[in-house]
């Protein structure tokens, strides 16, 4: 019996889909069976980032409508044997989702996989609600800027009131990933500090991902950045995946730039 994790953000463009792809791959690298499901119906992206766009034959909506079986629709990753993918429908829109159908599908997935990661659409509409409804945990992705924080705050609020687990008196575990941190800008005060973000959102920190030029290129090539051992964002995603798989991985402070670290060391000797 696995765990269902919804990846949410509220605001669009903060890196939900990138995070989903990288974490899915990271979990697979840790020898856990993982499936990533694109819940962004009508605007699917995850297939491209995973480099699987030419493999999609059946999608999630067809599975829910029983036009195809799960076995037919699940796509195996080219790079990792533990990673699987279920595509969203590109032709339909979010209104086709139905609570009971979603529940039936995710419960089936939960039986077969250790991790079921649902990539939520941006916003807080029905598509988002269906993603969080049956989730056991949520990963909240934010950027260190106020609009992203406020939208995430709203999304957490909805999660805390509409999730199925909460309705049964349980808590949904919530974890925070702060994405696209630019150390120089945090040091100069242009970007929000992670302590401030954590104080506002009041959830557990899962990891910090620094801004990395390699992420966009990696997405464009369909090879998630976690595969690039030299990439700082990739390393961050490896650490986060390790934590998700139960390893004790220390937090690396990505908010101090190399020059800032140098200043700090010089400061000690002053």
């Amino acid at each position: 019996m696995g765990i269902i994790i919804a990846v949410i953000s509220g605001k669009g463009g903060v890196g939900k889909t990138t995070a989903t792809a990288n974490l899915g791959l990271g979990i697979g690298m840790n020898d856990q069976k993982c499936i990533v499901v694109d819940f962004d119906i009508g605007q699917r992206n995850l297939d491209m980032i995973l480099g699987l766009e030419n493999r999609v034959v059946y999608d999630m909506v067809q599975v829910m409508d029983e036009e195809a079986t799960l076995k037919q629709a699940i796509i195996k990753s080219k790079v990792n044997e533990n990673l699987f993918f279920l595509a969203a429908s590109q032709s339909k829109d979010k209104s086709v989702l139905d609570s009971s159908k979603v529940e039936k599908m995710v419960t089936k997935l939960k039986e077969d996989f250790d991790f079921v990661i649902l990539d939520s659409p941006a916003g807080i509409e029905s598509g988002f609600e269906h993603t969080i409804e049956f989730a056991d945990a949520a990963i909240v992705v934010v950027n260190p800027e106020v609009s992203s924080i406020r939208d995430a705050d709203r999304a957490i609020g909805i999660l805390d009131s509409k999730s199925n687990k909460v309705k049964h008196g349980e808590d949904v575990a919530k974890y925070l990933i702060i994405n696209r941190i630019v150390a120089n800008m945090v040091e100069s005060g242009e970007m929000l500090k992670s302590e401030d973000i954590l104080e506002i959102l009041d959830i557990k920190l899962l990891g910090k991902v620094p801004e990395d030029r390699g992420v966009i290129e990696a997405s464009n090539r369909g090879k998630p950045v976690i595969l690039d051992k030299k990439s700082i964002a990739g390393q961050a995603y490896s650490r986060i995946s390790g934590r998700l798989c139960g390893q004790q991985v220390d937090m690396k402070d990505v908010e101090i730039s190399d020059s800032g670290l140098f200043k700090k060391i010089v400061g000690i000797f002053k």
Partner: protein, 209 residues
């Protein structure tokens, strides 16, 4: 000093007709056993002997402290009772006013008010957590928030105590409170004689934990 105090019934009279006096006492002397008889004016030894024979206590020609009549006493008592009732009413009304100023229907919340939440409360609110940007609190009574406020607050009570961030929007009795007037620590905002008075509560920041 040792002394005793008694309440005695006094029968006061002036003798004009000795025969009538004796006839009256012959009839009623048992009734006067516990009375002190005071005779004003002169009287003969015959009366003296008679009183002694009947062993009645008497005094002659003294000034009695005149007590008030029963009716006057009753009136006075009634008056006192009425005054008491009025003062009780006033005290009760004052107390009610005071307590409604300080507390009515207190709600205590210890959860973060996240963006998009709107909380409407008719009474008072004690909030032991943050109010995030994008959240709204509409409080008709008094308000105390122990953590930072970044959202919109509307308070209609007699006072509120809060720490506002520069992002916050604080409206007290339909008047927007300028954030610059609120210091970066706990402030007391109250309405006194149609004036809004803001006082920082403590010089130092306090930790509630």
């Amino acid at each position: 000093m040792k002394s005793n105090q008694y309440s005695v019934k006094i029968y006061e009279t002036t003798i004009t007709d000795e025969e009538k006096f004796i006839a009256f006492f012959e009839l009623n002397h048992t009734l006067f056993k516990d009375h002190l008889i005071v005779i004003q004016g002169s009287f003969s030894t015959r009366i003296k002997k008679y009183l002694k024979k009947r062993s009645l206590t008497y005094l002659h020609n003294i000034d009695l402290p005149k007590g008030r009549s029963r009716k006057a006493l009753e009136e006075e008592f009634e008056e006192e009772r009425r005054e008491n009732a009025v003062s009780m009413q006033i005290a009760e009304a004052e107390l009610k006013k005071l307590s409604s100023r300080l507390q009515n229907n207190l709600t205590v919340l210890d959860k973060m008010i996240r963006s998009g939440r709107e909380i409407n409360i008719d009474g008072d609110l004690l909030l032991l957590n943050r109010v995030n940007s994008g959240a709204t609190l509409n409080i008709k009574g008094n308000l105390i928030i122990t953590n930072v406020v970044e959202g919109l607050i509307r308070c209609g009570g007699n006072f509120m105590m809060l720490t506002a961030s520069p992002k916050a929007n604080i409206i007290f009795h339909d008047v927007t409170v300028d954030n610059e007037l609120l210091e970066d620590k706990l402030n007391r905002v109250e309405l006194k004689n149609n004036e809004i008075i803001i006082t920082p509560v403590l010089k130092k920041e306090i930790s509630w934990a």
